[in-house]
């Protein structure tokens, strides 16, 4: 991928996660649905990658694959890898930003096998590489919500209605920062003594009924309280960071007592609590009003700049993605059809589908009744033949589009999967000059 002139620092930044040939299929009565069928893209450190497409094009399945949240079965993991390269706080500046870490405050965490010198495990890069699709569930649990966090579409459904905000946000800290909680509470996490063990189990939410009784008795009660207070402090800080007014009062509320925008802020606070390397936002503002949506977008952008987190922003709303994303990947029917710098994609779309999508948005320049609708609907993805998935709705489709799979290839500053830009070796190539209809 060549670097566009507008945003050189972000596109040359190291890759945090790279998705290669991801295929996730689903079993259904009619056959195998190819929901995600060969998706490749990279997410670079500190950038926002927008993932856009219509309903059912596989954007959510792609996003959920990062954390293995796709239910299997009915899902079938066919092939592919998602390589994640976690980062750690830069030791020479302690996160403040220095020349060593190129001002980001983070460095690549070294490969545990070769300690950064380069070996076969890390493909000679020296960086710790984790394939999120193959690592054991136990290890994945330590990454979920810690190194990779996710914001879901409907905050009303994603929050647990039976837990107060305090309890659900604190879970993140109990799960991933229990040692820090113990240290804040004045307990040495390394000590193997009986009280410490009990308190450590408390800080990781593993206490059994009998242990809870012991912990409520005077000798241990102070330690237990200290741990809760340490967690409360962190919860309050996390909530305050998302500009929730009066976080200490909000902590004791339940999700139904909060407005939609407030709930989404709580979700964002939970997601960013552990300062993740990668944040996956799956339509975070679709359930919100425009005015609130704009506030949430501002918030995500601001927090991203502060935390230097890479964000994968999924949305069906192109105008929104243009506001948010540095780079955009357009998905159609389980594949990426165009990926590149946002501003350029929206300014000069190259793939016929991207063109169609952009023209379909009603704007000031459209005459009423003359919106360029894309005729037809997304095809059913049950056992598809090799062909361009968009051929059935494309104004320019030629015979080759029905028989061959187009692949992503470079066009100027981006990558496009279309025979118009990459004429096939045999057969007639389609062209923007020749419409079918």
């Amino acid at each position: 991928m060549t670097a566009p002139a507008t945003n050189p620092p972000k596109t040359t930044a190291p890759v945090v996660a790279s998705v290669r040939d991801l295929r996730v299929h689903f079993k259904s009565k009619g056959g195998i649905v190819h929901a995600v069928d060969g998706v490749d893209f990279d997410v670079r450190d500190g950038e926002t990658l927008g993932l856009v497409g219509e309903t059912g094009c596989g954007k959510s399945v792609t996003a959920r694959s990062f954390l293995r949240l796709v239910p299997m079965p009915p899902g079938i993991p066919v092939s592919g890898s998602i390589i994640f390269r976690p980062r750690q706080r830069c030791s020479s500046c302690d996160g403040a930003g220095c020349p060593t870490c190129a001002g980001t405050g983070r460095v690549v965490s070294p490969c545990p096998v070769c300690a950064g010198s380069g070996c076969d495990t890390c493909e000679q890069s020296g960086a710790e590489t984790i394939d999120l699709l193959t690592i054991p569930e136990r290890e994945l649990r330590s990454i979920r919500g810690n190194r990779i966090a996710m914001i879901f579409q409907d905050p009303g459904k994603a929050l647990n209605p039976a837990l107060s905000i305090r309890k659900q946000v604190a879970e993140v800290f109990y799960a991933h920062r229990s040692d820090e909680l113990l240290v804040s509470a004045g307990i040495d996490p390394g000590s193997g003594s009986m009280p410490t063990t009990l308190l450590r189990r408390r800080a990781t939410q593993q206490s059994r009924t009998l242990e809870s009784v012991l912990l409520s008795l005077p000798p241990l009660r102070s330690g237990r309280t200290a741990i809760s207070e340490a967690a409360d402090d962190r919860v309050a800080t996390a909530l305050a960071e998302t500009q929730i007014p009066n976080p200490r009062a909000v902590m004791d509320r339940y999700p139904h007592e909060l407005s939609g925008g407030m709930k989404q802020r709580v979700m964002i606070a939970m997601a960013l609590a552990c300062d993740p390397d990668l944040l996956i936002a799956d339509e975070p503002t679709t359930a919100l009003d425009v005015t609130v949506q704009a506030r949430i977008i501002e918030l995500i952008k601001e927090l991203q700049q502060r935390h230097k987190t890479a964000v994968v922003y999924i949305s069906h709303d192109l105008s929104l993605v243009r506001k948010v994303a540095d780079r955009t990947a357009v998905m159609y029917a389980g594949r990426i059809v165009e990926v590149g710098d946002s501003e350029q994609i929206f300014h000069e779309p190259e793939h016929p589908y991207t063109r169609g999508l952009i023209d379909a948005i009603p704007g000031a320049h459209h005459e009423r009744g003359r919106l360029a609708a894309i005729e037809g609907t997304v095809p059913e993805l049950i056992d598809p033949e090799p062909s361009c998935r968009f051929a059935g709705r494309c104004d320019y489709a030629a015979s080759v589009c029905w028989t061959h799979d187009p692949t992503l290839g470079p066009v100027r500053d981006r990558e496009v999967a279309c025979f118009i830009h990459h004429p096939p070796e045999h057969g007639e190539a389609p062209s923007f000059d020749r419409t079918v209809r």
Binding site: T291, R322, G369
Partner: protein
């Protein structure tokens, strides 16, 4: 849209209110009213498209339901199908109060007082398309039943003639004969919305109320539906009331727009004028929050705060609690002080009670005198908006009590702003910002 002498007003809405009671306690006594629609007036001319926009909870859907006759208004009236002279007569009669003229007009035109024949005429001429086509199409009925039902109810057709009429309707909305004997779940979202539209058009109505018809659809399908609606309007001369929260869609579809906030119209006017030069700060805030493909990033901004409780709408201008241009005349009141207090737990926890003499004048009692003094200082400080400080006429601190009196302000009403525009704002024009 200029009114000519033969121009018919499909709907004339006059000071319409719809309140829902809040019931509480074992006896379910009414303890308050949610003022979903609270004094809305406008005219809808034949053949035009009026866009109704606003955030969720501003009452736009309730208004649509009242206009369609699905809910009875609490007060005020909806008048159906008036000629220009009748409309002028109606306004005169309403100004004069109860009288013979008004009674006569109401008997034949006021929607909630229509007799059998007129009621049937109104119902068949007012159809609705709902947002969620999953819940507005009966999953147990075939498409032929769904689209044919209005024709059967009004005894327009039966037997094979009915089937042919249904096929004709389906073809108009881009479906066909092959779809007659299918169930709603066998269709995609866009197709289901087409079925809803076909059902609404079956009786060739005068007015179609479209309540967020494309909110659940993808852009490419949305474009298909918007084109379809426009074509149908062109060929059959429907009047549309287009309810939506999507400003890009409403700009594309509507001739005139009414912006609603908390049960009232904040601003109305011709579409391009309203978009190019908003007068009400709320309209401007909505426009700025709308992500637009062509606009630059400069103006993109959200709106602080939440919509106030419609059971206790703010005094003066209802938007003053969130308005960045608020002046001392916008209706600052005791409730705003209480809201400010809620964000300062140290003081709020000590608040013992509020004794109101009017919405603008009250005593706030605290459990200790420090808190009372704290509030008095806070009210003079930068913590409260400057316009709110300027609106305070009088503050006095007693032992554990603060008396506050704000400038009394009347409700901010819609005033004409030239060329068919109305806005409810104390300012004459917004400062040029973007």
């Amino acid at each position: 849209m200029t009114a000519t002498t033969d121009q018919r007003t499909v709907l004339a809405v006059r000071d319409l209110k719809k309140h829902f009671p809040i019931k509480d306690g074992a006896l379910q006594r009414v303890v308050g009213q949610v003022r979903a629609v609270d004094g809305v007036s406008f005219d809808l001319q034949r053949g035009e498209t009026l866009g109704l926009v606003g955030e969720s909870g501003c009452g736009k859907t309730t208004l649509g339901r009242v206009l369609a006759g699905l809910e009875k208004p609490t007060s005020g009236g909806v008048y159906f199908d008036l000629s220009e002279s009748q409309r002028v007569e109606l306004d005169r009669a309403l100004r004069a109060g109860q009288g013979e003229d008004l009674a006569r007009l109401e008997a034949s035109h006021r929607v909630d007082r229509l007799d059998g024949t007129n009621w049937r005429r109104f119902r068949r001429n007012t159809q609705m398309v709902f947002q969620d086509s999953f819940s507005s199409l009966n999953p147990r009925h075939l498409v032929s039943d769904i689209v044919g039902r209005p024709l059967r109810v009004y005894k327009e057709a039966s037997g094979s003639a009915l089937t042919e009429r249904v096929v004709g309707l389906l073809e108009q909305v881009g479906l066909g004969r092959q779809h007659l004997y299918r169930y709603p779940h066998q269709f995609s979202g866009g197709q289901r919305q087409r079925i809803s539209i076909a059902r609404a058009l079956a009786l060739d109505p005068e007015l179609v109320i479209l309540d967020e018809p494309t909110s659940a659809l993808d852009v490419s399908v949305q474009a298909q539906i918007l084109n379809l609606l426009h074509e149908l309007q062109q060929s059959r001369g429907f009047t549309f009331l287009f309810i939506t929260h999507d400003l890009s869609v409403v700009r594309h579809m509507a001739d005139r727009i009414a912006v609603m906030y908390l049960g009232r119209i904040a601003e109305s006017g011709e579409t391009t004028e309203l978009f190019n030069e908003p007068i009400h700060p709320y309209t401007e805030a909505l426009l700025r929050a709308n992500p637009d493909l062509t606009a630059d990033d400069e103006g993109f901004r959200g709106l602080e705060g939440t919509v106030p409780d419609p059971a206790r709408p703010p005094q003066g201008c209802r938007f003053h609690t969130r308005c960045e241009y608020a002046t001392p005349d916008c209706g600052w009141e005791i409730d705003d002080v209480v809201l400010q207090l809620e964000d300062t737990p140290a003081l709020f926890d000590k608040l013992a009670g509020v004794e109101r003499r009017s919405p603008f004048d009250a005593d706030l009692e605290f459990s200790d005198s420090d808190a009372a003094a704290g509030l008095a200082t806070a009210l003079q400080s930068e913590d409260v908006p400057a316009s709110m400080r300027a609106a305070i006429e009088h503050v006095s601190v007693g032992a554990q009590k603060v008396s506050i009196k704000f400038r009394e302000v009347n409700e901010v009403l819609l005033t004409p702003r030239g060329n068919d525009r109305l806005a409810a704002c104390v300012l004459d024009a917004l400062p040029k910002r973007y």
